[in-house]
Symmetry: D2
Subunit: 374 residues, 4 copies
């Protein structure tokens, strides 16, 4: 099976998420990274490309150059991976799609709803594949939860509680130039939403992924708990579903003791499911009136999605990188034309995330009123 050829934009030597993408794309040996515009500093980008085995003539100085030149090569890449700061997602994705490349893009898809909708439309008109890497949907137990909900195991949905809590912005680290913190707290580079954009959109996506439906209305209170910060760093959001179910999202980056505390708890009238990303191998399932069950990845009670998403047997822990690699594996099937997008996050999810951020900002600006989403 020939490998899918990728170019990467962003993901230089100091970027966390670029390295994650590279490991994920290697895990199942379906991709080759053959081109890149890895760094705003072109010299540094080229030097780094060399360490990744990228040929010098495919280590480009800018994304424009990458797209222009790759478009002309007979052995042009199949897809462009975008791991830049948020504000560049849109122009890079747009250029790539227009040049006929498939795109694998870090979230959030864009920094405005307008751009998101434009991009989604472009995906449609160009017919290119577009994958948005909402990591947490790659976890096997998250996919199992989604299947169990869809199969009616929970009964009629009552409540969806999703949290994404961190503490790495608990101090004003952006004032000391800490990597990643500077652009993430700069509204021009990260978008108008701070915590709601950076982690809230993950929570939003996770809620919809597991529940199988999106809320119709939200009520958001955005806070800036670290003095002087230019974006929100904490958000409490109430959700309403058309079905009558209720929910809430808590997204915060300033709560000491929370590393990457992503979780969902979802309850119906017959059963409940609970999952914590820091212990991703366990999915707690309790039918009303029965003992709590600890379901384990690829173990007793595993659904097809969890089995398909596993590389090793139960009790041999998989984690974040394997979840990420599941997105890449599905992306490989999609780009190779071997499978439909399935549960892979798409441009539609990117639009949904932007609508969520817009609705949060609108609700908050109105004094925390219920706001229709999109």
């Amino acid at each position: 099976m020939s490998k899918i050829k990728l170019a990467m934009v962003g993901g230089g030597p100091t970027a966390f998420i670029g390295a994650v993408h590279r490991i994920a794309m290697r895990m199942d040996d379906r991709f080759e990274l053959v081109a890149g515009a890895l760094d705003v500093d072109a010299t540094r980008g080229r030097a780094f490309a060399a360490t990744l085995g990228i040929a010098p003539d495919r280590a480009y100085a800018s994304y424009q150059e990458l797209i222009d030149r790759e478009a002309l090569r007979p052995d042009r890449v199949d897809a462009v991976v975008i791991v830049t700061p948020n504000f560049l997602h849109y122009p890079v994705a747009k250029a790539a799609l227009e040049a006929g490349f498939d795109v694998i893009c870090e979230k959030p898809m864009t920094t405005t709803l307008e751009d998101a909708e434009a991009l989604a439309k472009l995906v449609e008109t160009t017919g290119r594949r577009f994958v948005l890497t909402h990591t947490y949907t790659g976890y096997p137990m998250v996919r199992q939860a989604r299947q169990m909900v869809a199969a009616g195991e929970l009964g009629k949905l009552r409540r969806v509680e999703v949290e994404y809590l961190q503490d790495w912005l608990a101090s004003p680290v952006e004032t000391t130039g800490a990597e990643g913190a500077v652009w993430r707290t700069d509204p021009r580079k990260a978008g108008a939403g701070g915590a709601i954009g950076d982690v809230g959109t993950h929570a939003w996506n996770l809620a919809a992924f597991v529940a199988g439906e999106e809320p119709t209305h939200l009520l958001a209170e955005l806070s800036t708990l670290v003095e002087g910060r230019r974006v929100d760093d904490d958000a409490a959001i109430l959700l309403r579903y058309a079905s009558g179910a209720k929910g809430s999202i808590l997204a915060s980056q300033v709560l000491p003791g929370n590393g990457n505390n992503v979780s969902f708890r979802i309850y119906g009238d017959r059963a409940g499911l609970e999952w914590w990303q820091e212990k991703p191998e366990e999915l707690w399932f309790t039918r009303l009136g029965e003992p709590r069950q600890m379901l384990r990845r690829n173990g007793a009670g595993a659904t097809a999605a969890a089995i398909a998403g596993s590389r090793v047997p139960a009790a041999h822990p998989e984690g974040y990188l394997e979840a990420f690699a599941n997105l890449y594996r599905d992306a490989a099937d999609l780009i190779a034309g071997q499978a439909a997008a399935g549960v892979l996050p798409s441009a539609r999810d990117g639009v949904s995330g932007s609508r969520f951020v817009e609705a949060c900002l609108k609700s908050n600006a109105a004094g925390n009123l219920w706001t229709e989403i999109g």
Copy 2:
């Protein structure tokens, strides 16, 4: 040391909480239960009183009789314990206070704010002692958390998250006459608030107890997730503190898999504390940038309050009954005139709880708007 003599109103053979009070009052041998009007069915009440060693002439047919007769005895009881359904708390407490008895009363103190304020005033004018048994404040690790917050261990407060989740009302059990469920879902007997009154007030009290301050505003969405139920059974509430801190309360009685899932998580700019009632011996403490610590009751790092509230060494688990007994032990000191009320929940807390319920109802009725509390 002579024992404090108690009368009990309510707490018949089928009542859960009456038995809990009796165990709690015995645990440290500071009380004698010598009188009672234990059941609406006077015959059944008398028979039950006999099994508790209450003399026949002090097994009364009604609370009025109890108070009238005890008031005339030279060996009259020192205090009246009220463990009836909610709607009787007020008239019993009022009569007891007016007759000169101290009162130990189950929460909620009353079913309306008006009654709560009247009762608090009566406590003041009569000078009698009044203890409201908000159980969870009796847990040693809850008291330790309060002390650590008060000592500034968390720094400036950022967020207070309290949950009280159950599943025993997940089905319409009141329609099958299930014990406790009938009156708790009858607004005339339980008060206008369902889940917010029954478990929400505990969460509210716990939040204030640990944080050391009450929010000034709340925004509440009350839901009835079981069809046909006459009161709310699920509530999501946002909180604002004068200090700028944020918070939320989730109170629900209809989420499968939640037994008596009471918890708080409280974060400042320097550290965070987390506690789950179902594992009450552990208090998780994390200073920003340091490893998570699992503090254990009466173990390394215990504060004075946690040590005072312990009967056995660390790692010999104490639980709910010991927490309850801590309230009784403090009540004994108070009634015997040996100590001030200290952290014991009082009529003031009862008023606060009523204000919370009223504010929730008001916010909800207004379409979930921010509402000033009290």
Copy 3:
């Protein structure tokens, strides 16, 4: 129902376990403590007795005086509770039984096997009731485990793993006169076994209680890991059952980080059960090839024994004191002639414990050879 009248020997103001017994006997209101010889220092003992409401004429200077005088009273006590250091258990119990009293005795029953057998014989010949307070058998989930094993839920037994780990003797605390440590590390007062007597016998008893059978042979290695200590403080023991099952006991008092870490894990060919005393409300049950289940006290899947041993609903934690009180409640039924001894630890268990200690000492002295037990 008239209360059972108790006398206590030992359990003075500084003794941990005496206070535990008093709380446990009060919990269900079945006993009255009316007499005592509470302290080797008679004056201190009398003063302390007064605080417990014991009449001055029943606060005795010695156990001999207590037994002699009580035996003559028309309102003599029904039973004697023995909570002295180990070496006094035998003479006090012997005297009490011979004078016609029932006995509730702390473990270990005696300090030698010879005494244990003599006492068991005396129990038989006198026909008095004798209860040995092996605390851990009072936990509802331990009783549930026993029932599940007996019901064949595990299938054919394979392995029984029991641990009792502490760290309070991790330093040579007996050299600084620390309370409880001095006599526990003195072979004349505690018996020849150190850790095997103090905590090993609990583990032994727990193993037999849950498995429903005793091993026939053991192989023990006793160690003294704190230099200069006069008894073993760490023991690793292998077990063999007649049925072919295997097992092991690890008992140590010198391993930092272990508070009162008692646990069992028991496995058959069909399922396994696991329990940790520090989280006593949870019993983990896994059938081969099925998801792990977390059974909770008095919750879904509870057996009759667990329900009977519960005072409050599931998820309202009970603990060590309630477990202890379950022994007292059963003792009340036994002494009042209302029930047979049932699962209550008896003199037979005391003899078994002594045989265990003797076999450990013998195996160890022989260079850790397999040794027949009793």
Copy 4:
């Protein structure tokens, strides 16, 4: 940086561990798999090789052919990866080393001590590099534990408890032809030790790795708990260290509810460390008299080894594949001549494992007597 070229022997389409090796070698992009003799069925092996991108002329029918032909190529592989059933490890490794290849070999290194010693000698005389993939030493928190012990954080060592428990052989699955079970329970293919060879050697290696010293004596009881099985499937082993420390290993493959339950608990006179493979991101550290600390990979308190062994930040879970990939990363440095073997398991560890198995068999045959190791 040019990649290291690998050949794989074994690891066909149905083999679990071969796939694990391939993922691990890809994770950091340091290797290329360019040759293989992947299956005893040569046709199947060649077909599978094609799916892995191995050129047809390097898909060999047997290991002999692989070694003979690769040895003659100018672009010969640098190292041979051996993932066959146990009995082939020795001949393949021998042939590879003699032909001048470096070797990466699954454990156990050989099926007899004699072979192990011969191989270790061959490693020495040929000067080739030899890596034994004892997976669990690749976990960052295991490496951190080793560093903390070496740094004296625990003080003088007291006790080392290691367990490796599974349940996949709890039924006689070899009689139904279950994959992996047939050869693992055949003494001619797996070696004389069953559970002690398959999982016991991992436990032994882990004990030595963390403690930094090997025991001098052991006492082993080997059991066959599933009737009719031809090898031991359960082993309880006591350990003695020259320093006076004690230890034990429990290795079993027949205990329901245990998936891949590898753990160590190691205690000194100053502190203790505890780790469970199923939650590999957490290392519990408790200094005597201080609160328990939960150390997290790459988080607060991380040592250099844990940081070096991490690919993503704390709280983004890594697992089994990343641990395995750490061995490969270190192997890459070693084979490329960029670093010494460091903590990588070597032929010396293979010999040690064989000595352990031999000592277990000898002790067991002698009736469970203390036996000198090696």
